[in-house]
């Protein structure tokens, strides 16, 4: 420590600043010590067809914070709850933060979930949500990267009449109907992880619908500030 006699507040402040500088040199502490952790061993880039009507890679969204989840449109409970949860998380942000956040929903049922159908389904929750799907290989690659387990519960197909009707009732006036060619669909069980990715594509949070919405919103805010160097 410097041995400087302090007679005034100005002098005292100078001493404190010098001491802080010395301590920061002797004991370097990362400014990111209080940031969200990086979870290793999970994550990675993948490419799929999207509701933007083009093929996209996850890395194409590197300008935004991403909330990534997996499911399918014929899912009766978990997926609608998850998508509503994600909508609530976005609504908990201020406008500029929400604009810098992207929800991506990967369908594991490419047989039923066409791009057009995904588009209509997701617009029911939030127009900004983007749906992704692809070939079985594309999906397998993505689920493996993100430790998502999914499987058909059985080979029995269930009617999608109710869902078709529900969507048509809400959108029949202004939207052209886009449905899968099939009137039945499979049921899947799948992991319910919601991944929070930073602008480098690294996993910084793993949530589900039991997580408090505010926690997710605060995590997004934290990552946005980190990316701005704040």
């Amino acid at each position: 420590m410097l041995n400087i006699k302090v007679f005034t507040m100005k002098g005292f402040k100078k001493v404190m600043l010098v001491n802080v500088f010395i301590l920061s040199v002797i004991f370097p502490v990362s400014l990111l010590a209080n940031s969200l952790p990086v979870y290793k061993g999970v994550g990675g880039d993948f490419q799929m067809d999207s509701t933007l009507d083009k093929k996209v890679s996850l890395s194409d969204f590197s300008a935004k914070i991403v909330l990534l989840s997996f499911g399918y449109t014929n899912c009766s409970d978990v997926c609608p709850v998850t998508l509503s949860f994600l909508n609530n998380a976005l609504n908990a942000l201020d406008i500029s933060e929400a604009e810098q956040t992207q929800v991506l929903f990967v369908s594991v049922d490419p047989d039923y979930d066409t791009i057009a159908h995904l588009q209509k389904y997701l617009s029911y929750f939030n127009d900004s949500f983007i749906g992704l799907t692809g070939s079985k290989n594309d999906i397998e690659k993505a689920v493996k990267l993100y430790n998502i387990r999914y499987s058909k519960t059985s080979e029995i197909q269930v009617s999608t009449d109710y869902r078709k009707n529900k969507i048509s009732k809400d959108h029949e006036k202004n939207h052209q109907m886009h449905h899968s060619n099939h009137d039945t669909s499979s049921l899947y069980s799948h992991s319910t992880y919601i991944y929070l990715l930073d602008k480098k594509g690294e996993v910084r949070g793993v949530f589900d619908t039991t997580t408090a919405v505010d926690t997710v919103a605060q995590s997004i805010t934290s990552l946005l500030k980190e990316s701005e160097g704040l």
Partner: protein, 165 residues
């Protein structure tokens, strides 16, 4: 006669199922402490790369003499080369150690190994790993790790912006 047959049968069953008899009792505490000692060695930052074996031996000098025999540790070498010099801190947790005694003086240790490390100008990195070690205890009861298999575990649901290691 029937009673004797039943008794003999029970003895055989006990001998076959009690495979821990094939791993010396004196090795049991050493085996259970191996993961913790190894992880403590890896936490130390002052040792240079490629001296992992030496570090580990130093940690275990009071317990057992352990030598690694492995052929594919690219990730570990990469970690040493790329990250070690940038680390500010490293700590760990060892959880859920399971010991499976095999025949011919070998045993398996399966456990969860969670590493939390902080690098310069980086947020904390968390690694959740499943370790599966094959250990030979046939040489004078001293454990010798002959094979290490490591894989990532599924993530844990994080209910908040807190590190759950």
């Amino acid at each position: 006669m029937n009673t004797i047959k039943v008794f003999l049968f029970m003895l055989v069953v006990l001998f076959v199922t009690d495979s821990s008899a094939l791993v010396p009792d004196s090795s049991q505490p050493q085996l259970q402490q191996l993961p913790e000692q190894w992880a403590k060695g890896l936490d130390q930052l002052q040792h240079e790369p490629f001296k992992l074996q030496q570090v580990f031996n130093e940690q275990l000098i009071t317990l057992a003499s352990v030598r690694f025999s492995y052929s594919n540790f690219k990730e570990l070498n990469h970690w040493y080369n790329e990250r070690r010099t940038r680390l500010l801190s490293s700590k760990h947790k060892i959880k859920n150690i399971q010991q499976i005694n095999l025949d011919d003086g070998k045993t398996r240790l399966i456990f969860e190994y969670v590493i939390e490390e902080q690098g310069i100008d980086e947020p904390i990195h968390i690694f959740r790993l499943k370790e599966d070690w094959l250990i030979d205890v046939s040489q004078n009861g001293q454990p010798r790790v002959v094979e290490m298999t490591e894989s990532y575990l599924s993530p844990v649901i994080n209910s908040g912006a807190q590190i759950q290691c």
